[in-house]
Symmetry: C2
Amino acid sequence: MTCHQYSERVSRWQPHARERLERAALELFEEQGFTPTTVPQIAARAGLTTRTFFRHFADKREALFGNAEASSEQVERHLMEAPATLSAAALILHGLEHTTRNHFEGRKDDLRRRSAIIQSDSGLLERNLQKRAAVRDTFARELTRRGHDTTTATLHAEVGVLALFTAIEHWLGEDDDRTLYAFVLESLESLREVVSSYSPDPGS
Amino acid sequence: MTCHQYSERVSRWQPHARERLERAALELFEEQGFTPTTVPQIAARAGLTTRTFFRHFADKREALFGNAEASSEQVERHLMEAPATLSAAALILHGLEHTTRNHFEGRKDDLRRRSAIIQSDSGLLERNLQKRAAVRDTFARELTRRGHDTTTATLHAEVGVLALFTAIEHWLGEDDDRTLYAFVLESLESLREVVSSYSPDPGS
């Protein structure tokens, strides 16, 4: 019925160059490893030219990290549109809820495959650290713009990305249906316990 | 008197190749910027050969980061020798106290100069992120070895490096005589406040 019609439409649909290149890159990285894979191979697998590849990505590494800059701009815009009355913690939660819903939910299998490749290469792990730093800077910038002092802004931003990246790892490792945002809240709870164990007065 | 004798001895003392190269690199990075400075220039300024440079450092970037691997191994050894009875938080504090005392105290001016150069170059900032990740991994590895589960080990390690790197920034920005470790404890206190503001029940 409608289900069948839908899947036929999906299979006939030709994805755009960017997505085709990303898919081809992922397949080749899995089949033969990240290092030996070349840009011409990725382009050929996608049925496109090397020139088209470089219109979309600076190098093969970026074909694995998706449109990180565009995502970062979206998160930034979303934060800027949030109510001015939100506390620092509420703004970070607002940003995390948006990020998890729009950039992660429904992509678990794909993200698992990417994660496995990232873990296999030190250059990719380095790029992943940069990505985390970029999200942190986006959060910190917006908190500073809203008048929070640098220390408060930085610590909230650090807590936000720590909760997000810890949650991503747990979420990718689980097969249940809980949302990534539920894992974010769980990570924040664990972090609270950990941080409170440093208290000179644990009872307070 | 003794003061004069001492300073004469210092000026006559020939530092070792590694330190001479580090000093020359720092001077040249400050004078003409990181990017235009070449390894032959650094070697020449230190009165040594390019070949000697490469016996000590893989590239000019490493001449700025000192002996990061050796420091990391020292921290690891120190953690392994700590009493088995320490809690996770106590072990992290033990490691931070050792790290700040042995790798930072007494070097504030030098570290300030290095920090200014790192902030000027994206490749150096990336290397700095890696350094932070390496310290985190050292902490996490030791906690795991002591039987803590991965989540606990990772979160304690993340909290440790976050406190350390936040503290370093504040410490470098201040001219008072407080130790870096005092700033670490202050950062942990601020972090505790920040994290508790995410609590669903802030009164607990």
